[in-house]
Symmetry: C2
Subunit: 476 residues, 2 copies
């Protein structure tokens, strides 16, 4: 295949192909360091492992803190409330005044439970055929490794990079990046750049790379209903209101499961509707509903939409999702109690222009208007971030599409991923657009047991980033 | 106080008062042996501890099995699927052809979680002032000890008991007595008796003993909604139906929390309505709503009834109670997933004449009629038993009331407890009525953390049972 490619791609291919073992081995090192932000496990340790690896690759690296506690000396690990950010930089010797690209990634991972559903230790990094398994193998340590290696290989082979490169790798993405804005504000000068490459990007099951220009926002809340002072014998249910019933009733007012509609008053008021150009782009996308259903073991889609409507929803529809529901006795057998509390965790995906705090206030007003007092039903804002879509006419979009076409069988341009990331913050605080391109397959079981990444796609993504970096040299 | 009592009570009082330390010490031995039927923990061990104690007291004891596995030799502990039943018997020498009373109790206890809400080890048996703490201290080991000691003290003092005594102490009451019927059938001859004393009875906060003649039935079910094959990234909630939403929707069709009404078609068809005499008896009962509310930290009662209606509900209303609700991520922080399953545990208290299997079938038909398929929403029958009320004109009711009046400040006759027990099985299979009288205070935190029993009430209940046994000698 390489024989039909232009020179730069021949060079990229051999560079990458010759060093795949080293890439996988380094990825395993990252996976084997747990870094679960939800429970504050191993975050600084992982930041140190990663920065050491980047330094060895020739990337000048430092850990950034919002407030560096005096107890941290010589990078010793301590208990921090904010995970450190790993910053890396390589200045181009040949093109020091050229453009600067910034790779945004995150070294934290999702929790591993349900732990009993994993076939292996979630932090094993086990290689099996084309797959590397482990929590974070795909989201986001696999993506980190392709970018890191693209820069490392270029430096090794040529002693230089043809444009300026920056890395911003945070440790709190999986809990909604609660401190990223503060980092972006505090270190704005350091992070200055012309284009951000987003932490991940998808490749579909036909090997087509999906270049995505946007992300939904998110609002994470917790609803907690307070019942009797303690769990009480359930024979008293004739007299004592059960908080689980109150929760069920309140939840049923938020969302109509029959037609997949959010019922909160004014929820859609601020939604940024897709432009004509965006709708046309959505129509061009591929979506294989049957293989999607098969993969997830479902019979129908929510609200049973047509192909176009399904694609449009993935890119532009808000969600109201219960991610956790718990009250009372969850173990084997029977415990006849009225639980003392009942709790639901809900994540709402937001569309650009929906502000998480505004939406939270709408939720609170709605629930209070239905007669639930603060004492009875506590509503907590856990985290939130707005969504953003890079315009289709951003000047670097074509460059990235061209580079991707040289490596992947085909390219799909997507106006927004269904997922969330702090793209809005970069636009808002650094005034820079972002593009998502990466090595992840939608079926990689991110956030699920047995997460894995594909070695052949790590290889291609690395080649693609080398090509992108080279093409950036053309912009003065 | 004893100076104003007739002879028999003077004798009972000194008998009991002189041996309270021994009684508490033996109760601690029982508490310290965990016996959690929901998780099959320590059941046979507890049966052995208890039968040894009864043997020492002079009660001829044996362990009964439905099917004794060959692996059990010399009472060695092994893994059984059915907890053994402890049977005890004392024949009256002076009155061998007189009446026989049977004490029905259970040595199993409720699970201890939430374990972090206990101030002490739940199996400590710690004594503090008038209280003995621990899971089972009140329900039902405290009740067992008063009956055991009443018989033991009589035997010690007089060398005889004035009527025949039997003990039937099962190990599966807290999971709905799934095998009691089989035991009653298999050992019907052994259990033959004229009156059953139920495993527990209440004393109100004014020290009035509540003699209860009935119990509600129960139906325990589990609803499980199946969603995607595994937990899935919640960004896909636009496409994949969330099983927690399906569960919320289905539950909201079962019960209207606003007016405390069960909505299942035909649910009330078979309910045995209280007789005129029963209604009059309900009207005579005491119920201190304010102290009840204060104890449980609630502001209002379900459906906000008047005093009479509240008392009537406790004795005669069915319930639909969520005892467990769980789906997805329950820990700290956020995990943005669509859970793969969502489950609810529900217990329904039933009124006499409601058959658990019939009610279960009504539940299933109702849910299926709402469009939920078996594949989507699994409905499991976990356990069930019908309710029963001993008629107010049973010939022994007055005897028990009279005995209780000699020991307690006042006596309340109650037509049915709000709780459940297999009273129906005794009527159905042994054709014998039951009366509940015991040492438990409604606020003893049965089924809750920090369960305790009151030493002064153990003392009184023991005296009362001695008195009852003596009075039974009058019946030939």
């Amino acid at each position: 295949m390489t024989t039909t490619q232009p020179d730069s791609i021949v060079l990229s291919s051999s560079l990458v192909d010759e060093n795949m073992d080293e890439m996988i081995s380094d990825l395993q090192i990252l996976i084997r360091q747990p870094s679960v932000s939800a429970i504050n496990e191993g975050l600084e340790e992982c930041a140190l492992v990663l920065s050491n690896m980047m330094n060895k690759a020739g990337i000048k690296t430092e850990l950034l803190y919002l407030e560096k506690p005096s107890s941290i000396k010589n990078y010793q690990v301590s208990a921090l409330t904010v995970a450190p950010l790993v910053y890396g930089e390589v200045k181009s010797k040949s093109n020091p005044n050229g453009k600067t690209i910034l790779f945004y990634n995150h070294y934290d991972v999702q929790p591993v439970d349900p732990i009993d559903k994993w076939d292996e230790n979630p932090f094993s990094g086990k290689v099996e055929g084309n797959m590397v398994f482990g929590r974070g193998s795909s989201d986001d340590k696999g993506e980190i490794i392709t970018r890191l290696k693209a820069v490392e290989f270029l430096l090794k082979k040529t002693g230089d990079v043809p444009c300026n490169i920056k890395f911003l790798i945070e440790g709190e993405e999986e809990i909604g990046s609660p401190n990223l804005d503060k980092f972006l504000l505090k270190y704005a000068e350091k992070f200055k750049c012309d284009l951000v490459f987003w932490e991940s990007g998808y490749i579909d099951d036909k090997g087509r790379v999906i270049i995505s220009l946007g992300q939904k926002g998110i609002l994470n809340v917790e609803l907690k209903v307070n019942g009797p002072l303690r769990d009480v014998h359930s024979s008293l249910a004739v007299a004592i209101e059960n908080p689980a019933w109150v929760l069920v009733q309140a939840l049923s007012l938020l969302y109509d499961n029959n037609d997949g509609k959010i019922l909160i008053d004014g929820w859609f008021d601020d939604v940024q509707q897709p432009s004509e150009r965006e709708l046309k782009q959505i129509a061009k996308e591929f979506f294989d509903g049957d293989s999607f259903k098969k993969e997830y073991g479902i019979n129908t889609f929510v609200n049973d939409p047509s192909g176009f409507e399904q694609k449009k929803s993935l890119a532009t529809a808000p969600t109201c999702n219960i991610s956790g529901l718990f009250s009372g006795y969850a173990n084997e057998g029977v415990k006849t109690i009225i639980p003392s509390t009942a709790t639901a965790k809900i994540d709402f995906r937001l569309i650009p222009n929906m502000n998480p705090k505004t939406q939270f206030n709408k939720l609170v007003s709605y629930i209070r208007s239905k007669g639930y007092s603060e004492e009875q039903l506590e509503i907590s804002f856990i985290s939130g971030e707005p969504g953003y879509r890079t315009p289709l006419n951003n000047e670097y979009v074509d460059l990235v599409v061209d580079a991707a076409k040289k490596v992947f069988s085909d390219v799909i341009l997507n106006i927004s991923s269904p997922g969330t990331g702090p793209m809005y913050s970069f636009k808002n605080l650094l005034n820079v657009d972002s593009i998502c391109i990466g090595s992840t397959v939608l079926l990689n079981k991110m956030h699920s047991p047995n997460e894995f990444t594909n070695i052949d796609l790590l290889n291609k993504a690395t080649k693609c980033f080398i090509e992108i970096i080279r093409k950036m040299a053309q912009y003065k």
